[in-house]
Symmetry: C2
Subunit: 596 residues, 2 copies
């Protein structure tokens, strides 16, 4: 993977140019590479070897404590020691001032090696980054700093048992206790939070929960909808104003662990807040009623992270199945007169259908990786580029975020299934890693916004916002790639195909909204999302291939082949998806319950 | 499911007409229904309640014995007591003389309730049926009879660690010991057999292994290829000519259990034959060198069984996710001005995208069930129909067998994934059945011929054999359905679409073979298989819908809707698959290893 990753970063995205910007001026291609080297090594040495162990010995709750395999501690300790928790933070608080694209690329090694254990660190960094953006100076100093140092870990507590996708329906209640606590306005909280990853463990001396809750209105009732939601810091262990543990435990209790299909190394919890009666202590972050806004400040990065994680699980399966296919003899070539049983068997990688399954995986996982890195690079552009460039990046990101979250979640899961298929019966056993990768990856279509919700976000908001500016910005980029491709004899045909697909997508977008009624427009939002995703990936592949050039190295040939695979086997699928969008097919919308 | 099953059997396939035939003359619609009632009840009472238990407490080997959950015994005992092991056998040996289609329909309840435990019985029936077809009178009397009675269970020992899909490469060796043993020519066997389902357990007092092995030629060497393969009965416990256990154990040893992703209730074994030195005792079945032919005598039924099992796993997930969607409140309707948070939430079944996921499942699982029952009905036609009718059924089955095995394995697995998605986070936990169904179903694309191999079988053999007669026979049936549809105002459009798809498929078949070279023709055999499958399912759905009529009952409306779903959302996918077939895309075939 490293060669491809380096190519994407250095040749395709030109990350070295970022070092010309003030924030990254002390960096160079060498420091970027050193970060990648370090993370690759830790992931290989500490994370990968325990991937099966952390699946088999999933977190166990004895009524008092949550037990994880001992080796988990060594892995997270090594991550902490790498300094990656503060990778993107300022030097002055001990950060590395790394661009988002390098931070993401480095973290990709952990997702590939052991996604479930990597999650502890990534949640902690996300939590602390949020506090840096929205917390008070004191909150940053006490909570964020301890998290960057890896002494405390963090969580995000959004969902409740009755409110998963619909956060406006949370009922966790927060009541003001003391307005001028040095750690922020102090509230008491009561409620239950579901699906809390890393919600309980003993890997760190404290756990900092970021909790969405509602402050009652003057009538004592919770305010309906998202505008009633505020954000709170709720530490597991109480902390004084100097950031020392007081020895008192906050009223946050583990009600139980969820037992999952995959991703088992990450403890996943139902947490009760304030069940003792007096309420869990929480400190308000940001303004009252702006909890969702604060929480979603880092949403783009979180969603890129999910997509990149999905791509990495796919990549791990691709590599495992490629290695297997190269050494497993089975079957013979089909000659003009069938097969000759007296000949020795050949490695299965020589069979066309096995190569098809490997090429599909290659196109999905390398494509998913490229897309995620591109999005991370756009985040950097948004934060450190010129005004015009930042604005353009922001617009393109708007439409790419639902894609980068959803596309790898769907297609790199399919890659994992193909990896199982390449291994055959062996792939179906727990003696090989591919079945676990498939189980782990199945989460990604569910969390951080379900597939269906990203479809609604894309077709319902992103492509129509500001009179379609975001879609136009993406189309302009696609158009440039098409133009370049048309200049290349070997790629002109693909350029035409991509241009036609873009036109088709634009037409379908208009058709969907022809009635002007959201319910009708969004009836086929998921097929729209799928078609949009395949178009984006075709564009990414064509652009990557333009950069790889028409050379004859194995590396360049591989990129050309994966691109051709995508255009021949995958891009044509968009017609079926866009068909129902364009015709405003209302079958699903209109189906009455009784007919099922 | 029962209403749909009854509709398929009685209204669509007209199974009562079979009772006009001599073999089934003592049956009636009532006796068929009684068999279904009995099996439905046993499956519900004894198999379903232990589905999770048999997943969690998978078979365990302590070095001496294989342990299964105690409740497994009660389940298989109840199956034995039902008499279903001899469902298709003659009355005179205690059978029920049931048509294949009724036997399959009845067994479907077990696959739906607990596919892994159902496998013990179904392997036993398959084993005994094979002995009835190819065994000597004595072998039938001793081995088959004990299996039909459920005293002994059976296995199929084909694969070896180095020979999975390529059976011609097995190296298990069989040497003649005594030509005139009453139980058949007695051989000694040495070798290892892999992936042996039900290969070791204590559910029955004996296990009858049917083992493929090679008898050396005069030069002492094993004969290359399939023609060297013979079939042997290898009992776990030695048996005398009267069928009594001698108390002596044959030299068949469990080398280890495979630990699988799913289907865990079925013990899956690596068995060593003859590791003690003197060889395991085996009795030749049928002629020397005709082992594969004997083993594959029941191949059609076995492959229909796999497809039906896949459809049943899909059906179980469909029902679970439908029930969940009806009771889970989440989110609100999208009105002209967005959502109104002050309104109560509504059940998720009211969201268009959830209905899409349920309709997709409905179209996959009911379609898969219909196809499997149709194939079983064709088996009956082949065995009990008039000469012309039997010949036509045989031809149609030739092309449908790769489809009925592969299509439900792929798309009812997708149905299981959609079921998880409907349940969201809950679907990802082991507190709900859908994740297990998805794991269980993943096996079906691998065993009984992998997906890729069925593609080769379809495009490489079935559609070209006898100058395309089988394909023509299917096309004639499709043509009749199209004709009927064109008479129905509500279905004419679908009829035209199906006719166009059929033409497209025919053209693609010709294009694929335009070079006459198998390696080139088969380069895209799997996409061809996928397209062929979707066409077959569209045909099945249109035919089913013609029978359901244009009535306004919920049942009829549901069938119409699923049919329309399939034509609007699914059938158009064939263009992408056939595109690479028609253009003889050689990318995968030509891809060199070094480019990956």
């Amino acid at each position: 993977m490293r060669q491809t990753l380096d190519f994407f970063l250095n040749d395709w995205l030109g990350v070295h140019k970022l070092t010309l910007r003030e924030r990254f001026a002390e960096h160079s291609g060498e420091t970027f590479a050193a970060v990648l080297d370090t993370c690759e090594k830790i992931a290989r040495d500490k994370f990968a070897p325990i991937a099966r162990l952390t699946d088999t010995e999933e977190p166990r709750f004895d009524g008092e404590r949550v037990h994880l395999p001992v080796a988990t501690q060594a892995a997270t300790d090594a991550y902490v020691a790498s300094g990656m928790l503060a990778a993107s933070q300022d030097y002055e608080i001990g950060g590395m001032q790394l661009p988002c694209v390098i931070e993401m690329a480095a973290n990709a090694f952990f997702s590939k090696a052991n996604v479930a254990i990597g999650a502890y660190a990534m949640l902690t960094a996300g939590n602390a980054n949020l506090l840096m953006a929205h917390g008070t100076a004191k909150q940053r100093e006490v909570f964020a700093a301890a998290e960057f140092a890896g002494r405390w870990f963090g969580t995000m507590c959004l969902s409740e048992p009755q409110a998963g996708s619909s956060l406006s329906d949370i009922v966790t209640r927060a009541e003001l206790e003391l307005a001028d606590d040095p750690l922020g306005p102090r509230f008491r909280l009561w409620g239950n939070k579901m699906w809390i990853s890393a919600g309980e463990h003993e890997l760190s001396e404290n756990i900092i929960h970021l909790v969405l809750a509602k402050i009652p209105g003057p009538d004592g009732k919770l305010i309906a909808g998202a505008r009633g939601i505020s954000l709170f810091i709720v530490p597991k262990q109480m902390v004084d104003a100097e950031g020392r543990l007081t020895g008192e435990r906050n009223d946050v209790r583990l009600a139980g662990l969820n037992h999952k299909l995959g991703f088992r190394g990450t403890s996943n919890c139902l947490l009760n807040f304030g069940e003792g009666g007096a309420g869990a202590v929480g400190y308000l972050v940001g303004q009252q009623g702006e909890g969702l806004k604060c929480m979603f400040h880092m949403m783009n990065e979180a969603r890129i992270g999910v997509g990149l994680g999905a791509a990495m699980l796919g990549y791990a399966g691709y590599e495992a199945s490629l290695a297997y296919a190269r050494q497993r003899p089975q079957g013979r070539a089909i000659g003009p007169s069938g097969k000759d049983a007296s000949q020795p068997q050949r490695p299965i990688i020589e069979h066309a259908d096995v190569k098809r399954m490997l090429l599909a995986q290659k196109s999905y996982v390398e494509g998913g990786l490229a897309l995620a890195l591109l999005c991370a690079r756009l985040v950097d552009e948004q934060h450190s580029g010129s005004a015009a460039s930042a604005q353009e990046a922001k617009l393109v990101l708007e439409v790419l975020i639902p894609i980068v979250k959803s596309w790898p979640s769907e297609w790199c899961l399919e890659a994992n299934s193909l990896a199982i298929q390449v291994l055959g019966g062996y792939g179906y056993t727990r003696d090989f890693p591919v079945e676990q990768l498939w189980r782990d990856n199945r989460l990604n279509m569910i969390h951080e916004g379900t597939h269906g919700i990203h479809g609604l976000d894309l077709l319902g908001r992103k492509v129509v916002m500001n009179e379609g500016q975001a879609l136009q910005a993406l189309a302009a980029r696609v158009g440039k790639t098409v133009e370049s491709a048309l200049q290349e004899p070997g790629l002109a045909e693909l350029g035409h195909a991509l241009a036609a697909a873009l036109t088709r997508l634009g037409d379908a977008t208009q058709s969907a909204w022809s009635s002007g009624k959201p319910e009708q427009a969004l009836a086929n939002a998921t097929p729209y999302l799928q078609a949009f995703g395949h178009l984006v990936l075709a564009w990414v592949w064509l652009d990557v291939t333009l950069k790889a050039g028409q050379g004859s190295s194995d590396f360049a040939k591989g990129k050309q082949a994966a691109c051709r695979y995508f255009f021949a086997y995958e891009l044509p699928k968009i017609d079926a998806w866009l068909g129902v969008v364009s015709s405003c097919e209302s079958l699903c919308k209109d189906m009455p319950d009784a007919w099922f």
